[in-house]
Amino acid sequence: MSSLDRKMDKILAREEAGQIKKRMKNRALRKMFANRLSVAGIIIFVVILFMCCAAPLFTPYDATKVDLRSILQPPSAEHILGTDKIGRDIWARILFGGRVSIAVGLGSALIATVLGVSLGTIAGYKGGWLDGIVMKVSEIMMAFPQMILVLILVTITGQSLWNLIFIFSLTGWPSMYRMARSQMLSLREQEYVQALKAFGIGGMRIAFKHILPNAIGPIFVNITLSTAMFILQEAALSFLGLGVPLEVATWGNILNVAQDLTILKQAWWIWLPTGIAVTLFVISINFIGDGLRDATDPSQIG
């Protein structure tokens, strides 16, 4: 109680001295930056993304270079995070692997978004049989536990990097579709839409130009959520040996070797830093998503 009182005194004193903090104009941006966690999220995200993209700047090694003279070496000046069973530099593998993992996660999320949002916009605005069919398809896909559906599709298509992106996009669109569709359904009856129709503006133009921008907040939140989910799933699949083929370095594939109990027990440097990298990256995405959700939610005061 007393700490609260002290805080109130401070605000009162500042108010009476006439010092009021300047506020940023854009309400969403202001809230986003006022949220310390989302700022931290953006920083971590950008740092990891930059280090992975510019990997050769940060390591002299190649992710796939085998060096049988130095296998399973603990961290040293030469190899900052040591080497794995066939002498590949772990630090280099984390950086180069991050490229693939992030590309798979972000890429699939974006494709799923484009697919889901356009279907949702068109079907949701038009309604009718098209909407009915797409809705049923999405219902069936969403009835599967995501992981199981992904594995079934892996059995059918076989393992490869592109197949994985294809599978993630295919399993990811229904949730985006639902979100875009519900926005359409609630907004298309609004009076401003009726007014636009009365002006003779085409249906698709109204849907994409005048209604869709209202859903931009939820769309971005959904992209962050999907990206995080796909990165975690890629890691899990590769860990099981069912994701990206093992010769490509990804975060999941580095962790794959930890199935071996001796490596798990003795060579922590192979799996622990990689695991931390994955976790940190996903946390940063979640922070950004949380910040975006709060910032774009008009029902919250800022």
Binding site: L4, D5, M8, I11, L12, E15, I20, I301
Partner: protein, 341 residues
């Protein structure tokens, strides 16, 4: 300090600040009034003027990020003078007073009842926690009796129903039943009919007048409707931006308004039967930003009689007549002029 025997609650020079979003909003800036036994006191004013905050201060229901800065609230209860402003808001003493000594009903009865419990359960709770009933069974019996008193048909069946099965008017009756369950000395009604139909409004007010007569309850009625004031109030206080600008006997204030704001409020009400010809005078401008208040009289920027003097400070209280107070420089000047004549 001599005290009128009839005074139940005495509020003196109450200052309350809100501290949301790192800003300080001085919501109440020196509010004083008295609630008397068996009388209805109305507080009128536009939304945001601080009338609900006044009510919440008395009930000890202010939000966490707010503080009573100055002034006192004295509750005369069971032969003692209790200083409510000094009690812990969530403490045991305050809790005992709430529900037992004073009760409150709210604006929207549909959201004020918890949707997952039966109406009977929620009334029982009040009874059981203030020793109004010895057992759950006894409580239910009393709840049924209360619902019946409040004019709810089929009380035996209604007591087992959930709030969503009640209409707005019925819910408000149930709320009043709950509030009156321990026969409190004070009933605070925060715009109890704003969310209801006009016909239901009349019934609820009828019920409140009845309660006042039979239980000798002091009622604090918060409203923005001058018609309600004319209908029900014994005393009235007109609030504007955290100050009571005019107060006193309801008849005196309504027939001889002295503050320009009160006059303006009365002029802005259409009177039924006067037809299309009547001239309505809306109050020009809008209420100022609470974070950027006028320096002097809060009403000055919207006032037709404003002079440079009005911007120097809040005018002092002056008596228009016995028991009729007004805070206005314009009125003071007029009085001086009369005295000089």
């Amino acid at each position: 300090m001599e005290r009128n025997q009839d005074v139940v609650v005495k509020v003196e020079d109450l200052h309350v600040n809100f501290y949301n979003n790192d800003r300080c909003n001085k919501v109440l800036r020196g509010v004083s009034f008295e609630l008397k036994k068996g009388k209805i006191m109305c507080i009128v004013g536009e939304s945001g003027c601080g009338k609900s905050v006044t009510a919440n201060s008395i009930m000890g229901l202010l939000p966490d990020l707010s503080r009573i800065e100055k002034g006192s609230i004295t509750f005369h209860y069971q032969g003692e003078d209790i200083r409510i402003d000094r009690l812990k808001r969530k403490g045991k003493e305050m809790r005992k007073l709430r529900g037992e000594g004073m009760a409150m009903i709210f604006q929207d009865p549909m959201t004020a009842l918890n949707p997952v419990f039966t109406v009977g359960y929620q009334i029982n709770e009040a009874l059981l926690y203030h020793n109004g009933a010895s057992s759950r069974k006894d409580a239910t019996k009393k709840s049924i009796q209360l619902l019946k008193e409040m004019g709810i048909p089929l009380p035996k069946q209604r007591v087992k129903e959930y709030p969503h099965q009640f209409s707005g008017g019925m819910s408000q009756r149930a709320m009043i039943a709950m509030a009156m369950s321990c026969r409190p000395k004070v009933l605070i009604a925060d715009e109890p009919t704003t969310a209801l139909d006009v016909t239901i409004q009349a019934q609820i007010f009828e019920l409140m007048l009845d309660l006042k007569e039979t239980n000798d309850t002091a009622i604090l009625l918060i409203t923005h409707d001058m018609g309600v004031v004319a209908e029900l109030a014994d005393d009235v206080a007109v609030m504007y931006m955290g100050n009571i600008v005019e107060s006193g006997d309801a008849r005196a204030v309504l027939t001889r308004p002295s503050h320009p704001y009160t006059k303006a409020l009365l002029d802005s009400i259409p009177v039924l039967g006067r037809g299309r010809e009547q001239k309505l005078e809306p109050i020009k401008g809008s209420t100022p930003d609470p974070y950027n208040r006028p320096a002097g009289c809060q009403f000055a920027p919207r006032c037709a009689y404003a002079t440079p003097e009005c911007e120097t400070g809040m005018p002092p209280e002056s008596m228009v007549e016995e028991g009729h107070m007004c805070r206005c420089f314009h009125h003071l000047r007029k009085k001086e002029g009369e005295a000089n004549d």
